[in-house]
Each structure stands twice: as structure tokens, then as C-alpha cells.
Symmetry: C2
Subunit: 220 residues, 2 copies
């Protein structure tokens, strides 16, 4: 696991993951619709002194040789992006879905119903069969990842996936972030429950005027 | 809050709540379909030396004067019980729903779809308007409550409700249990997310061969 591509890598979630994975020695490629502009932004990110250099590529180039692809675009952008990228994934690639199907219409947070059951199963349905899908990094707040990327984390992250291999590779990815404990919760259909955890954390943030609610499993 | 009735109080969840609330000085009435038999069972429960005495009554007698009623029957028993009890709730009673709509068909745990959105909204739809409804005690495992009821707890419990008053009274109830931190998550519609937390904890228990997975919010 020394190379990862991140689609949506210039959003806060993607940026936090990119900075932390690079600090762990991973070669991170940021996939972008507009690589020249993204390269400019990425060059200004504060990085850990010994971090691996970040690469920037257009989305197709970012996935074509990637064994591990993190999908960090907004949920509403997933369909368009995967329609475009579907033919370009490498054999035996794993996609790690971090999207959460929530909306903030009129200031109220609500979960979107997803026909396939969860955002991750929605992603699964839009990828070739040879590509594995896992869910991870759905519950940790983006700015906890990104705000002080040199600070170890202190919570759990839930992983599910459509095969043992997809889960194992996503678990290894989570383990690269110091202090973040992966909790394997089983098949990809568990993603809906994980997405509800995120919705509840957002509700707790809003109600208690905080920004960093996240989870720790007691008893494990 | 010195009197609480528990419907389904002889199940493990109800028994754990009854023992812990009695230890906190609350007068607990166990509602039962068969009070003579329930009285026999309850008389054998190990109780904290300074616990308040437990009362046993038939279900109607248990709710008729109760300001606070905990609904701790299996979710599949809710409809029959509430059909019977609906006319008997006192004015301004609050029902605290602890049910979780999960099934274990063929050894596989699955969440039941509930037309109203969540078990708690299902309960809400089956009660008179003057009765308030809150959700609480959905995520803490029954045997963590019951196994060593003199041991302080060490996790969070999520509370939502259909009014400020219902939430406040459920929060006060949770606070009676040493070590259990109430987390107010807002309107009753959040119950679905809370029920997903329970489903995920059950999945974690099964997958990791443990029995006591529960939640702590980090950052609050």
C-alpha cells in the first residue's frame, strides 16, 4: 500500500486524507477535473516535513493504474464521475467510498434515500465487477482530519466491504493514520448504518454547537 | 422523577433498568401480563442493598397513574400491547421507547423497515396525542445494564423526543444511572439513526465475538 489515488482530493475530506497519508509515506495522487488549477492549490498545502510528495493528475490518469482509489467527491457527484471513469479502472482495483448521502436543504440536515440501500452500494452498482468496493472514513469529520494533520487521531473508523480483500485493504489504509482504529463491521450492506452514524454525529454537532463529534466503540 | 413504570420489565433490558433505577432510589413498577408469576421472578433478583422496593402490577395498573413509562417489550410485541393500553395512559405521561426493530432470521441480523421511519415513531403513532414520546436506552446492551448492576456505566446514551419536555425527562432518566452520559440528538425522527447504531453494535459484537459493544462520542 504505497500508492493511493484520491478522487475529490481537493475537498476538505480528501485533502485531510491526502496530507495524512503522505505523512505516512504513501504516494498520493490527487485526481482532478482541472489538474493545473489543482496543482496550484495543492502546492500551497501545509505538509508534514517528511511527507511524500503529492502528485496531481486528471481523474482518468489517477485511476488507470491505481490499485487503491479513494472516492471523496460529494455524493451528488458520484454518478457523473463514475460514468466517466468506469472503463478506466485497473484490474483488481479497490475503491474506498467515503461519501455520505446527506443534504442540507433549508438548513436542515436529512439523509437521502438511496435505492441500493446505501451510498456504498450505490457506488458498487456503478463499477465494473472486477473492482472491489469498501466503505471507510465516513464518520470522521473532514476538518478533524484536515485541521491539524500532524496531530494523531483518537477515535474509531468503521470499515465494511464487498469481499474479505476489499475490507482488509481498507483496514490497512485506516491503520496508516496514527490513532485511528479500524473497526471491521462486515458486508457492504452495513454501510447504511455507518452513514446513519455520520448523520447522527452531524445532528449532535449542530445541536450542541460543536464541530468534531466522532465515535469510539467501548467494549472492543 | 421518583416513580417509573417499566413495560416488559422482566426481560433483560427491563430488568437491568429496573435494578439500576431502584438502586438510584426510584420507585419502579414492573408491568406484566401475569403479575403473580412476575412477582415470583422479581423477588429473586439480586438487588443493591439500599435499593427502593420493586412493585409489580398488571400492565394497565402500571400505566394508569404513571408519569413516566419505559417501553421495554420486544418490538414485535409493541402493537398488541399499545392497542390494549392506549386508553389507560395518564394525562401528560411520557413514554420512553427502548425498542429496536431488528430480527435474527436464520441467524442473520437485519433491521426491519418501519413505515413510520423508526420504532419510536411507530410507537408515537400508536399513542394518544397527550402522551409524549422519547427514545433512550436503545444502544446500551441489555446485559451490560443487567450483568453487574452495581457497576457504574462508561458510555453514552442517545436521547431524542417529540418535545422539549419529553427529551428533558428522558435525559433526566438517563442521568440517574451513574456513568451513563445522555446525548440529546433532537427530534424523534433521529430515532432511526439511533436504531442503526444498535444494529451496528450488534454486527460488531457478532463479527468480533464480543458482547458489549457500545458507544462513546469523542469531541463532546
Amino acid at each position: 500500500m504505497n500508492a493511493v489515488s484520491i478522487l475529490g482530493g481537493t475537498g476538505q475530506q480528501g485533502r485531510g486524507l491526502a496530507r495524512r497519508l503522505a505523512a505516512a509515506g504513501v504516494t498520493v495522487t490527487i485526481g482532478s477535473r482541472d489538474p493545473a488549477r489543482a496543482r496550484q492549490g495543492v502546492s500551497e498545502w501545509p505538509m508534514h516535513p517528511s511527507a511524500a510528495a503529492l502528485l496531481v493528475a486528471d481523474n482518468i490518469a489517477a485511476v488507470v493504474d491505481a490499485a487503491l482509489v479513494i472516492l471523496a467527491v460529494p455524493f451528488t457527484s458520484v454518478d457523473g464521475l463514475l460514468d466517466e471513469l468506469r472503463p478506466h479502472f485497473s484490474a483488481r482495483a479497490i475503491v474506498v467510498d467515503v461519501t455520505v448521502p446527506v443534504t442540507f436543504a433549508a438548513g436542515k440536515m436529512a439523509m437521502l434515500e438511496v435505492t441500493e440501500g446505501s451510498a456504498s452500494e450505490h457506488v458498487r452498482a456503478r463499477l465494473p465487477e472486477h473492482v472491489g468496493v469498501a466503505a471507510a472514513f465516513k464518520t470522521i469529520p473532514a476538518h478533524v482530519l484536515d485541521d491539524d494533520a500532524n496531530q494523531p487521531l483518537d477515535c474509531d473508523e468503521f470499515v465494511c466491504g464487498d469481499s474479505e480483500e476489499a475490507r482488509a485493504r481498507a483496514v490497512s489504509l485506516v491503520q496508516l493514520l496514527p490513532g485511528l482504529r479500524p473497526v471491521d463491521v462486515g458486508p457492504l450492506s452495513r454501510a447504511r448504518s455507518v452513514e446513519h452514524l455520520t448523520a447522527l454525529a452531524i445532528a449532535i454537532n449542530r445541536r450542541h454547537k460543536i464541530h468534531e463529534a466522532r465515535y469510539r466503540i467501548v467494549g472492543l
